[in-house]
Amino acid sequence: MDFIGKRNFDFVKNRKVVYIMSAVIILVGIISIIFQGFNYGIDFAGGSLLQIKFDDPASITEVRNILGEFDLSQSTIQDLSDNEFVIRTEKINPEKRKEILSVLRENLSDLEVLRVETVGPVIGENLKKTALYAILFAFMGIILYITVRFEFKYSIISILALSHDCLIVLGIFSLFQKEITISIIAAVLTIVGYSLNNTIVILDRLRENIKFRTRESFGNVVNLSVNQSLSRTINTALTTVLPVLAIYFFGGSILSDFALALFIGMVAGTYSSIFIASPLLVDWKSINKERHRRIRKSTKKGK
């Protein structure tokens, strides 16, 4: 079985359309990030989380009404089915939590406390800083490694491609106001690794082809490299997306957003390594050529 076969797609020719498409998606995301911001979970914003399971069916409205008695009607309440609820509130102390739980028990039904999380604002602020450092550290390490193993040009292209993937994930999470938790940052960093992995496999092929195909145009060599790696790129995308989907559908509520972020990132990562990273190299090369020509012209005129 070989569903990619020997087909030779021209990825370089139509690159402008792809650039515009990506730019639009990213722009929408960035606009959302600027105007709506992120919905930070308690890991970053501080606050309390309570996951409870009632013995009898209950509704979000009922739970919200009771929280209203404690001035917490603005809390986020999520129904996980099976009478299970996740309630996110501002930071509350243990005494208040106890009172809330006892009122819930009295008015609705007996319940089991599955999970309690409380994070102070100081911890959250610290975490934002470390998250930023981690991402910067990863980016710098990667630029350094690719520069040493390949060329500086390749490392900039890789960083562009993976920024594209991360921005798409973060943009979508902002747009739909999905919660940003530590797990989501972990997912983004995993995508950083994954996106690179894909880009590098293609760049590696390009490095090899450039050596042997000196007569062909750069655009053609790039296109050939993408096509040669295509069946690997798609198969690996499938084998990595399959387990992520398994986590999403079977891994439970705690992991589902994490899996969703990974899924979006992997789709974006596969797409960007094929349609963005390699074609960008062609543009880079032609911009450089253009600049060289202009410099040559201007020096001639000068003489």
């Binding site: 079985m1 996951q51 102390n93 243990p94 106890k98 089991e112 406390v113 599955l114 999970r115 309690v116 999380e117 409380t118 994070v119 102070g120 100081v122 911890i123 975490l127 470390t130 981690a134 991402i135 550290f137 990863a138 390490g141 990667i142 490694y145 690719i146 193993r149 530590i182 797990s183 940052i185 972990a186 960093l189 995993t190 690794g193 994954y194 690179l196 992995n197 590098i200 496999v201 590696d204 092929r205 069946s231 690997r232 198969n235 690996t236 084998t239 990595t240 399959l242 387990p243 992520v244 989907l245 398994a246 986590i247 079977f250 891994g251 439970g252 705690i254 992991l255 994490f258 990974l262």
Partner: protein, 396 residues
């Protein structure tokens, strides 16, 4: 890579054997994180108050008292650590009622005896013991016993208040307000109040372990009840099995016999990951399980790279043996570069991650290394063994 073939085969068997020894029996060897076995992760901060400032000595005494309380709770492998100048990390794995436990740990538990004017006459600093028991009506009460100094103080306090109320307060909340009938000289007293069996037990525990010299605030608390932990394990295993089966099937359908080899290598890879987790005494968390499932997908990637390369070489008309060698050599550098960059991201995560997320970074890193080993060594050996039989048709 010029090791002789037998040596390589032997080394693979040794690695597998070591992994098996480390990994089994699974439930004894694998260290479960708090999010999987249930328990609490708490960070406390000592706070200045008007009558007590936080200094080194105060933090050490807080540690001591918390250690006492945790001991009395009967937690099997607690972690109680000082972090920085005024923070304390407490981890209580496997407790049934995390909420009460966290509650008990953070309580100042300052016991005071006050006269009718609200003046503090003495504190519980000189308590020798406190026990929960029942009075003649079967109501839960607490008996306390003072040391010598305490007994003297207590006899003074009771002597000067005969016929009056001597209020007993805990953290400024009145728990009992008995009228002193006669001076108590032997330093033995009982606290009656509206206790339940549980609350009497908890109060006695707090009194026995002493009060905290300064106020502490809970900066962070992550507690998971035992049932959610078990549920997470079940769901993690289910997701893992589904993911694994999907990939095993995909590889066989797409790559036929080659897929079988990749599947075999994948199983060995999983075994090595579990063995390494157990061997390094790493903690398996829920994100860690996710990392392992993710690794399943990434592990076959190296095999896919190799197979695709071998296919290309075969199409060029090379012999099976030559194709394998050329395919491996060309794929090796790609696999190496691609995995190192993923590893860089995982290390960043290791540095940044706290608790459960660190578990994810650990399994991911181990997974990357194990998958490189199995693809480059195990898959190659199998292919070489097959090439002896010149089964060049297996790729068709």
């Amino acid at each position: 890579m010029n090791l002789n073939k037998t040596a390589r085969i032997v080394s693979v068997f040794i690695v597998i054997a070591v992994a098996v020894i480390f990994a089994f029996p699974l439930d004894e060897k694998i260290n479960l994180g708090l999010d999987l076995q249930g328990g609490s992760h708490v960070i406390l901060e000592c706070k200045d108050s008007p009558n007590a400032l936080v200094d080194d000595d105060a933090v050490n005494r807080v540690l001591e008292v918390i250690r006492n309380r945790v001991d009395q709770l009967g937690v099997s492998e607690p972690v109680i650590q000082r972090q920085g100048s005024n923070r304390i990390l407490v981890q209580l794995p496997g407790i049934d009622d995390p909420e009460t436990a966290v509650d008990l740990i953070g309580k100042t538990a300052l016991l005071e005896f006050k006269d009718e004017e609200g003046e503090t006459l003495m504190t519980g600093a000189h308590l020798l013991n406190a026990k929960e028991t029942f009075d003649q009506f079967g109501r839960p009460i607490i008996t306390i016993e003072f040391d010598k100094t305490g007994a003297t103080e207590f006899s003074k306090a009771t002597s000067s208040n005969v016929g009056k109320v001597l209020a007993i307060t805990l953290d400024d909340k009145e728990i009992s307000a008995p009228v002193v009938q006669e001076p108590i000289l032997d330093g033995q007293a009982r606290i009656t109040g509206s206790f339940t069996v549980d609350s009497a037990k908890q109060l006695a525990l707090l009194l026995r372990s002493g009060s905290l010299p300064v106020k502490v605030e809970i900066l962070e608390n992550r507690s998971v009840g035992p049932s959610l932990g078990k549920d997470s394990i079940d769901k993690g295993i289910k997701a893992g099995l589904v993911g694994l089966i999907l990939i095993l099937v995909f590889m066989v359908v797409y790559y036929k016999k080659f897929g079988l080899i990749a599947d075999f290598a994948l199983m060995i890879c999983m075994l090595i990951i579990i063995g390494a987790l157990a061997g390094f005494k790493a903690t398996l968390t829920l994100p860690g399980i996710a990392g392992m499932i993710l690794t399943i997908g990434m592990a076959v990637d190296a095999n896919i790279l190799i197979f695709e390369r071998i296919k290309e070489e075969l199409k060029l008309g090379k012999t099976f043996r030559a194709s394998i060698d050329a395919g491996f050599n060309k794929a090796f550098r790609t696999i190496f570069d691609a995995n190192v960059t993923t590893l860089i991201a995982a290390v960043a995560l290791l540095y940044f991650g706290t608790g459960a997320i660190r578990g994810f970074a650990v399994t991911l890193s181990i997974g990357i290394l194990a998958s490189m080993f199995t693809a480059i060594v195990v898959t190659k050996i199998i292919l070489e063994l097959l090439s002896v039989k010149a089964h060049s048709k297996i790729l068709a």
